[in-house]
Subunit: 535 residues, 2 copies
Amino acid sequence: MTLRIVQAQLNFRVGDIAYNLQKHRDAIKKALELKADAILFSELSLTGYPPEDLLLRPEFIKETQHSLEELAKETPDIYCIVGHPLLIESWLYNACSVLLNGKIITQYQKQCLPNYGVFDEARYFSPGKSTCLFSLRDIPTSIIICEDLWKLEPSEKAKHKGAKLLLVPNASPFEINKHEKRFEIITKRAKKHKFSIIYVNQITGQDELVFDGGSMVVNAKGELCHLAKHCEEELSVIDIDVNGNISAQKTITPPQTLTRIYNVLTLGLRDYVQKNHFKSVIIGVSGGIDSALTLALAVDALGKENVYALVMPSRYTASISLEDAEILIKNLDVKSETLSIEPTYQAMLETLKTSFAHTKSDVTEENIQARIRGMLLMSLSNKFGSLVLTTGNRSEIAVGYCTLYGDMVGGYAVLKNIPKTLVYALSHYRNQISSVIPERILTRAPTAELAPNQTDQDVLPPYDILDAILEAYINQSKSSQEIIDKGFDAATVNRVIKMIKGSEYKRKQSAIGPHVDNKSFIKDWRYPVTNGYKG
Amino acid sequence: MTLRIVQAQLNFRVGDIAYNLQKHRDAIKKALELKADAILFSELSLTGYPPEDLLLRPEFIKETQHSLEELAKETPDIYCIVGHPLLIESWLYNACSVLLNGKIITQYQKQCLPNYGVFDEARYFSPGKSTCLFSLRDIPTSIIICEDLWKLEPSEKAKHKGAKLLLVPNASPFEINKHEKRFEIITKRAKKHKFSIIYVNQITGQDELVFDGGSMVVNAKGELCHLAKHCEEELSVIDIDVNGNISAQKTITPPQTLTRIYNVLTLGLRDYVQKNHFKSVIIGVSGGIDSALTLALAVDALGKENVYALVMPSRYTASISLEDAEILIKNLDVKSETLSIEPTYQAMLETLKTSFAHTKSDVTEENIQARIRGMLLMSLSNKFGSLVLTTGNRSEIAVGYCTLYGDMVGGYAVLKNIPKTLVYALSHYRNQISSVIPERILTRAPTAELAPNQTDQDVLPPYDILDAILEAYINQSKSSQEIIDKGFDAATVNRVIKMIKGSEYKRKQSAIGPHVDNKSFIKDWRYPVTNGYKG
């Protein structure tokens, strides 16, 4: 006899219990049609992940419990492994239940609660202490949840209890090289304990987090038996023999890094827009690379008919910027409009004339231009209901080379955690699929065009150097001395670090953007604004 | 023989280890002059509290460790109890050390780590397991840190080990009625275990948190022996007899609630401004109550010479608004300037004329006015270096009755967690000290003046009803049905809840403001923007 399990890699909605419940029902129905014995959903599948402070609302927990009971009652002869918060007395657990024939036959409570990086599970949950073992048809099966797999103890206890198959529901957000890390830990556990592991992840964009799927099955020899799609829903069918063995597959290759990042940005953007009930987005297009890539991503995520480009020239806008913006807009075939910021800029300067008498032109006037652009974007957004996408990249936001309430205006910042050097790489990647970003945008020196003959490098070190310093200081928590010891110029390093610390207040008011690597702004970067640290 | 302890209620600076080290030295010097045997500093006194992700930087931990060793070496014959992070192997603890005669004689590691509300200690620290007992001269003394006191076990273990005196360094942020809760738990523990407790808190404004001091001494009978000042530094001298007893004082009364809140807002504002190296602030004054109270608070916090008022009338500004603003500015004797938003507003409408053809005037035009005001404030701030204070209150921010990048512009939001009804109470309170806010501002119907004959109540329920619903939904996590069952109109309740959920994106981009009660925005309110919850 063979056992058939459906691995349900789905896109749930945080907080929308009724929607998620129906999604479970639909998947169970399909699993039955596929003659499956079991279906495995991802972590907290009934509430979506992460529900954050919704978990502190008693009514939310009650409604989830009620939906779980409803689903259990309906469940026919198929093992359904469903994720949900579980309240026992006054303790809340990150749990899952095994439903079968109208009943909850067993429950498991997550033992290891991540409370680092983007995770705050200790804020909400108590750690479970027990191992779960049940017979899935005839196979002794155990469940552990996500972080449990990364520690040795939970899978070891499952093995000791006699498990021949390990099911692992996850909500594992994308990071660069995360697939490799997941694969390594899964194979390590499978080989050590000599059981097959079915690892299921959700695919979802949820505010700052993007869950990229890539659900896996690894057999007791540590061989990859299945790799689900990246950033797409999938119900995978897994057949297991009486001893819990699964056949390996030979030709599985995960997508390349740039493909993964591009997929993740697309999914994150699409889900943010659609789950927040927007139909379209509006983007300020400058003729520079950040807005070009953002526009391309938006078209790929939402369709060209849902993307609107706004060009907002000033006295400092070079004609080549306007030409490149025009070519880009034509290539991507999106609607667009051009509104000059000059009349409003003139009116502002006139209003401030007396106040600014005897002062020199400085960053103030640059910011006013950026803020008028922000105001125009928001005006069209308010009037016609498109979400403003802000186009700033991680390098700029890290050093504060951006205007609060100006170019930082918007509901979602697609490139927020993409360093400028990676913006270039992703743009080249996108152009390989079809050439949409004009060549000159890729080769021209970056400029904010807020003053005559300005380039970014008037203020910033070259981006390859800047990004290397940022990576060392932010992602690797290196000290200034350690970075200087790597061979970077001391004055440059200290200036960059000062800029990082001096712009914390801007990041605190910045738009949400997708986490793509460790130390993303803001969930994984919780620095004080008021910060006297000299290092 | 009598033992003399100095309770050091001081204002430390997060991250500024050198400053904090010097502050310890100065206090120790004064304690020696006072012939003290010991000096007790607050929790994490060497780093300031909370250092947040600075704790994840290895160099920061090393520098703290180095400063601790330096301080220990210098310490003469006085017990100095100093708070600091402590790295043991790869585990970080929230610890304190007892320094004496050039050495660290003992260390204690906090056992209970708060990870709820505004606290994230499980993100950084491992829990300690051991009880600390040492002889302070001849008195067996134990130390526990902050949260340890709120759980029974740590103080019980200290008692079992033979402690006759309990020292408790704290970093306890202000909340309404927090003093009463602290006093209750201290007396409860003191009476139960029959030892004296010296409880020391810092006074500090640190981003969203304000630590209000109110350090206490309670003897073994549970009597209050000393209550340190509210929101002011103090080195208190505590004399203890050979048995660990301390004499009660009879005439200690803590300040009233409104006084406390006013003190906390003043301290929070002053510290935010000064620790971030600003000399002055600029405030948009409308003739309404929020900006009036903010202006008064700013003058009380920073001195009238450091406060600048900007009046920004439009076609919708009533003459009485301008009159009241003028009287207020005169009463508070601050510099001011008037800049009309009309020319810029005209220019914006002209720029958008074609785009907005065949559309009706709506909230878009209102937002443009608010955003021009924001832009003018930021322009003066950028040019002259004053920090913009934003004036919105909690009721508005909760329901999103405010303009992102408009009236929400600013670095610090003094009234962010003050409901509108409390804004009135605080304004009356301030006027009792000296009458600065014109009577008509206190009695007139609130209006945003962004459209003809507008009042807040065109869109919002009366503020007493709104604030009661917000308190129930936000602070008490009640469901809509529970709130309706209290007697509120169902349609109103549902509309308010919808507004709360629909404005999460605004709060995510809002300025920092002081936490004054539970569920303050944002540290204690971590809700998803993308939120499908129907409740």
